[in-house]
């Protein structure tokens, strides 16, 4: 069966520090991968998506970046965090035959101080 992991689960970082959030998927090949951010009590904002290794599409211009070094690994990064980067970050994947259903990871709660 397919599973999706995200780590860390919780992170507290100072303003100006770097960031690296990791997402990995097991049990499937060549998934489409997505990074979302959710502010408290709000909906989801799509940040990046990837249809293959090294292929990244950005939906929102910001100081974040994403990379996909391996088929089932998706990384969200920043060189210098801003206060506005605080939020709940969700990774999701869609398989070839999953009827466009997105499967979400458990999320990472990021607080920038």
């Amino acid at each position: 069966s397919q599973t999706i992991h995200q780590w860390p689960a919780t992170l507290v970082q100072p303003v100006g520090s770097p960031l690296s959030l990791e997402c990995t998927v097991e049990g499937t090949s060549n998934p489409n991968l997505y990074w979302y951010r959710q502010a408290a009590g709000r909906g989801l904002q799509l940040l990046f998506y990837s249809v293959g290794i090294g292929q990244i599409s950005s939906e929102v211009p910001q100081n974040l970046s994403a990379s996909r070094p391996q088929d089932r690994q998706f990384i969200l990064s920043s060189k210098k965090l801003l206060l506005s980067d605080s939020g709940f970050y969700l990774c999701a994947w869609v398989g070839v035959s999953s009827y466009n259903e997105q499967f979400f990871g458990p999320g990472t709660r990021l607080t920038v101080l």
């Binding site: 997505y34 959710q38 009590g41 709000r42 909906g43 989801l44 799509l46 709940f88 969700l90 999701a92 009827y99 466009n100 259903e101 997105q102 979400f104 458990p106 999320g107 709660r109």
Partner: protein
């Protein structure tokens, strides 16, 4: 561009009663999927129900059912026999070439 509108930011329902959450969407595509996801306090996103646009029959999953009106671009979720565990944020999601989330409806279940 496709948009998804959930006009009810908050809803409440008495335990064991029925509640309907509204969702409308805008699209020019003919082939797409619609979903309702649930996000409980744990913040894990959980699929509730899925509807394929080419299917006229409304999807049903146990106590959850949808009223899909393709011409009206409406996709409401009905929760029957509401339980305390149904309390969560509910998101309506459209997907064609991209994924579009509504802003969510916070459902409170009153014991």
């Amino acid at each position: 561009a496709q948009t998804v509108t959930q006009s009810q930011p908050e809803m409440s329902v008495q335990e064991a009663e029925t509640v309907t959450l509204s969702c409308t969407y805008d699209t020019s595509e003919s082939d797409y999927y619609l979903f309702w996801y649930k996000q409980p306090p744990s913040r894990q996103m959980i699929l509730v129900i899925r509807q394929e646009a080419y299917k006229q029959q409304n999807a049903t999953e146990n106590r959850f059912s949808v009223n899909f009106q393709k011409a009206a671009k409406s996709f409401s979720l009905k929760i029957s026999d509401s339980q305390l565990g149904d309390a969560a944020m509910y998101f309506c999601v459209y997907t064609g070439n991209q994924f579009y989330f509504g802003t969510g409806t916070s459902l409170t279940v009153i014991p």
